[in-house]
Amino acid sequence: MSPRYLELVCPAGTPAALHAAVDAGADTVYCGFRDCTNARNYPGLNFDADELREGIAYAHGRGCHVLVAVNTFPPAGNQAPWHRAIDTAADAGADAVILADLGVLDYATRRHPGLRRHLSVQASAANAPSIAFYRDHFGVKRVVLPRVLSVEEVAELVAATGIETEVFAFGSVGPMSEGRCFLSSYLTGLSPTSEGACAPASHVSYVEQDGRMLSRLGGTTLNCFGRGEPAAYPTPCKGRYVTHGRASYLFEEPIGLNAIKILPELKAAGVTALKIEGRQRSRAYVTQVVGDFRKALDALARGTTPPASGLKGETEGGRETFGAYHRGWR
């Protein structure tokens, strides 16, 4: 077997997706509990304690690691579910927990010093002193970098902090500093930071009006589509807004992040691991995306050219970008 080129960290939104990711060649999978303690608290997703135990057994049996995301911010007076989630992950034998809240990090550090801690993208640590802060106070071993940084900035952070970094390789382009965005709660009253669901389906509606389909979040119209045009999901930062009398995708176009063509750049920047997003996506998505990245990484590890990848159909809006990794995005 070739030495590892970059660790491939893959989404396990359900036990079935965990199996699919492991079978498709994930080095590591990440998952969360079925409650507000993780940032993908959507109906039909996530794990209970028994499912996690079984998933870990399956993954470990095939040389694959399991990370558990406990990466939302507990509301005041109700920290116990977050503490329990960490206890449960530790008991189940998780390889690491992915955390964001200072209080949760403090709890995990004191109560489970032997349990490896990763810093979630929800903590929005985008500079060397922030990363040093989490490294020094909580013994954080790896930071998931916000997807607002260029490859050059990633390389500088790796050099300055000497810590493992994990970067987003495939998924959505998050234009906002994550974990600190209140757009969805501004429109719905439900907080992604503490309740773990951005643009919750319970508040989404599609309304036909004058031959157009309007997509709404809460009572606010975020986009409209012509007859037969696919209506995108109304996430606040992916909506169309009018400025100076002109409607545009002010924050971000319907486009997906795909870094499969710049893996050598990320490797040269000193990145440790690649994160594939999509705990809310299907098993077929997991199989295809993980499989394509596996093939690309194996080819690069052998020093050969990666095979052509056909992932465009899996990206948002069927279009793809390198996002912030290349500077023109800003």
Binding site: G103, F182, Y186, V242
Partner: protein
């Protein structure tokens, strides 16, 4: 802190990109006329704007301090470049209290008292206690925080002071990308500081015509003004002692006067609300986050 402690009125950092002259005039009038106890100064949104204030900063700080006001230096909410890190390190070495708005500030201010700004997530007792252990003396709570959580974090805790924004558009997000530049078909690297055209931010409407957001460079704010007047008394009872007015391009001295009168019991909240309406024009009032609702909502307290 209890309900009988003196309530302090603070002026948050200016979030919009005003010219040096407009900034100077604004702060000198605050120094001379506004019943404000604490003024936060410094660029929170975009480091490209910083030089605009440099020429008048020393004079403004001197005048504010001569007028008996506490001056706190605010720092960037999203820090990515080494130059931005150095800027925080520079203020951390000075004499004035500093407001950290990124965890980088907490790291660089180690060993000194500091203020935790509203862009650092302090949603619970665990995060609060950790930061108090690092030297935080005042915590400005996140705008999303509902009253019941504020009461838990601030209530009965005498180790630090607690601050809540009670007037002005609420910041909802920060980004690396500049939306003001995008609205003008430019990129952040070639923005020509186009955010300076809109002294109160750029309104973004929904495609069916409702004003919904305010764009301010890389920052997105609410369209409506957060107005917590009827809630001041209950916030005080919950342990909040500092009340933040966020600068908007309107008569902030008059706004401060109204809040001061309500805090001192010289004006009923209802009457102050009506008087405030005359100062703010058509912009809606909102208070949803505090009441545990969608942020854009208004609840008659």
């Amino acid at each position: 802190m209890n309900a009988h402690s003196p309530a302090r009125l603070t002026l948050g950092p200016l979030l919009f990109h005003w010219s040096a002259r407009k900034r100077r005039d604004f702060y000198l009038r605050i120094a001379d006329e506004a019943p404000i106890d604490t003024v936060y100064l410094g660029e929170v949104v975009c480091s490209k704007r910083d030089s605009e204030f440099a020429g008048v900063r020393v004079e403004v700080i001197e005048r504010l301090r001569a007028a008996g006001k506490e001056v706190v230096l605010s720092t960037l909410a999203l820090v990515t470049t080494p130059a931005e890190v150095e800027a925080i390190r520079a203020v951390a070495g000075g004499d004035l209290l500093v407001e950290a708005n990124d965890v980088a500030g907490v790291q660089l201010l180690a060993g000194r008292p500091f203020v935790v700004g509203p862009y650092i997530n302090v949603f619970n007792e665990g995060a609060r206690d950790f930061l108090l252990g690092r030297g935080a003396v005042r915590i400005v709570l996140p705008v999303e925080m509902p009253a019941k959580s504020i009461a838990v974090v601030a209530g009965g805790d005498a180790r630090a002071e607690y601050e809540v924004q009670v007037f002005g558009r609420q910041p909802l997000s920060v980004a690396m990308r500049c939306y003001h530049a995008r609205a003008h078909d430019r990129t952040k690297d070639h923005c020509q500081l186009v955010c300076g055209l809109d002294a109160d931010g750029l309104t973004a409407r929904t495609i069916d015509g409702s004003d919904i957001l305010t764009i301010n460079g890389t920052q997105t704010l609410t369209h409506g003004h957060a107005v917590l007047l009827a809630e001041l008394e209950s916030l005080r009872a919950a342990g909040v002692r500092h009340f933040r007015l966020s600068p908007q391009d309107l008569d902030m001295v008059a706004v401060a006067g109204l809040y001061r009168e309500v805090l001192d019991g010289r004006c009923a909240p209802d009457a102050a609300l009506a008087a405030l309406r005359a100062l703010t024009g058509e912009v809606p009032f909102i208070n949803g986050f505090l009441h545990g609702r969608e942020g854009l909502a208004w609840t008659n307290a």
